[in-house]
Symmetry: C2
């Protein structure tokens, strides 16, 4: 609005017009740099409070530059120069303060924290209970993670019967990998993980390494770092079982990894008789997420078998298994003893209780790259959302 008015006013005054154009151009350039730097550099690398402290220094630095540049502002030079180190010290003090604030957000003592390009990773521990949080969301508790990871990995492996090549997406903590490596005929696992810092942590942190059985160092494991959507088409060969363990589809970026487009790419990597399985959020609270993932696989012509298990630290958890209608499935048994899943549990795992399905008044659509309905389904919890 102000630009056409100014242009009209300044039509005759060449010098002023140029100066103004420079100011406006610099203004836009600064806004561009700032809006790129904040999400891509500052927040990922520094975290929230140190970024705020750093940005608070910028106006002070500008004030200093002005005082030195313009003689009329000379008497402000030394007060500004004195304020700068004070503000710098305050900025340095803010970082540990941020840790204290963060500690208060967790029930248990925080034993480690890591700001990566992609997420904030926090480890807590109370007695035998090691927990990992990603961006504040519980990723797992060491007390019951076995229920989740056995449910994620073994039903598809057991229905395949003799899986040799497995593709695992997400799950850089190495826990699903630990379960996959228990299968005797397994020859190769390709793991695709977005965050190299999570892989380093899973390899090097002594508690995590003990929990995942150093699975990431197994010679059968091949790690690919990057976005699954981009990497999957270039992976070598085809897979007997594909396991997707992404975070819940609460944002459009995450919902891509549960879309028709992505599942179509996965099918291109599936061996004849192969199975795909994905975690599907918590169907007691968000039954439409599981139902929509199921509808997405079915829109590709696959047969689906949804199932659930209770992970006490999460509540009832859902999964969707899918395969081509031509696949012949094995009877399903485990060639080893797991902690939760056995032949009896496997036999009736796929009888999903009625109350984990959407009600008749809840429409369910497949999830598409261009129309990520899952984001809405994930946010609309049936229970206690405010």
């Amino acid at each position: 609005m102000e630009l056409p008015l100014l242009t009209r006013l300044l039509e005759g005054q060449e010098q002023l017009r140029r100066a103004l154009a420079q100011v406006l151009a610099l203004d836009y350039l600064g806004a561009l740099l700032g809006s790129l730097a904040l999400p891509l550099l500052l927040l990922p690398w520094l975290g929230l409070l140190p970024t705020a402290a750093l940005l608070a220094l910028v106006p002070l630095l500008c004030s200093g530059a002005l005082c030195w540049a313009f003689p009329g502002l000379r008497r402000w030079r030394w007060p500004v120069a004195a304020a700068l180190p004070l503000a710098g010290v305050a900025a340095l003090l803010v970082a540990p303060l941020g840790d204290r604030v963060e500690d208060g957000l967790y029930d248990d003592p925080v034993i480690g924290r890591l700001q990566t390009r992609h997420q904030r990773i926090v480890l807590t521990r109370r007695r035998d209970d090691l927990r990992v949080y990603l961006d504040g969301n519980l990723q797992f508790s060491s007390v019951d993670e076995y229920r989740y990871h056995e449910a994620l990995v073994h039903p598809a492996m057991a229905l395949h019967g003799r899986p040799r090549r497995v593709l695992l997406l997400g799950a850089g903590d190495g826990l699903a990998l630990r379960e996959i490596l228990r299968w005797p005929d397994l020859q190769r696992v390709d793991l695709v993980e977005l965050d190299p810092a999570m892989l380093r942590l899973a390899r090097r942190h002594p508690l995590l390494r003990r929990l995942n059985g150093a699975s990431l160092d197994d010679p059968r494991v091949h790690v690919h770092v990057g976005d699954a959507l981009a990497l999957v088409p270039g992976l070598p060969g085809r897979y007997d079982v594909i396991i997707a363990d992404f975070p819940d589809p609460a944002t459009p970026a995450l919902a891509r990894l549960y879309s028709l487009g992505f599942y179509g790419r996965l099918l291109g990597r599936l061996a004849p008789g192969g199975l795909v399985v994905t975690q599907a959020s918590t169907p007691f609270f968000t039954p439409r997420v599981l139902a929509s993932i199921q509808a997405t696989f079915e829109a590709l012509g696959l047969d689906t078998r949804p199932y659930s298990v209770t992970v006490p630290s999460f509540g009832p958890w859902g999964f969707v298994l899918a395969h081509r209608p031509t696949a012949t499935l094995a009877a399903g048994d485990l060639p080893f003893q797991a902690r939760w899943l056995d032949r009896a549990q496997l036999r009736h795992l796929f009888d999903l209780p009625r109350d984990l399905r959407p009600g008749p008044g809840e429409p369910v659509e497949p999830n598409r790259l261009v129309l990520p309905v899952l984001v809405d389904y994930q946010r609309q919890s049936r229970w206690r959302s405010d």
Copy 2:
């Protein structure tokens, strides 16, 4: 220690000895009255903070009495007389303050509170979620109570096939009763509940009454108020199904209701071919509670079938069903549509997962009236107890 010393010192001084004897006698009498009044009258009827306020007035009243009785203390009469009404007003102000403190203990807005002789009942509500707490422990959430009550009632009813007479112990909220009354052949339910205030609340509170479907007013229901251990032997006739829904056995008083002695009395009320079922706490956290209840039934010569269901607001929950080895059980189906339990869930309900059983190093004993091992088992949670 001080008594023999005093006796020795005062052997010659008759008058002093008498006065001292009177003081000591009154001291013991007061301690006796106080230790009886506090748990039996004051705390049950007034609650914690009003009791504290009332007791704070006692020393002030005693000071007043002393000032009037002894002329040497005369100048303190009026200050004490002035302090009394102030303290009285403060005591009156404390009661609503206690409500405010209590409100802070619950996640959701408190919509009702009731101090009965037996317990403190608090109702909270957020949107569709009505919750009832007994002494601070969640009794149920209206969002998932159907899972608990269907699991408590229907498996035993379905295995009996055509239950006509049912005995329900505890469960004065009318929710288990609502499920029992769905069975078409049912002729009579005897309900034993300790707390008449809970029954009044379940009958009269509009939200509770809507939730239990006014089940307590059904003509087939006969209510008996009192302690189950004392009342059970005098109940009329025998029952096809006996359902025990007591609080977890966390105290010796509650553990009585899960004991060999109590279960023996229940058997006396069981019709030929009848079944007994009891809730059995949360076997993921306290697997020995369920296992010990099972061992207690088996010590009486019964066959047992433990099972579990996930109630999201509680976590995985356990039950133990027991019957005489001679009983012939029906195939098990429901003559109506429930919200969670159906033929498929019933078919595999009794395949208890491995991780809900105690480990090999955890000894399990039957629970006896004189040796209530359940109290220890209930308190020793496998997970996150501090």
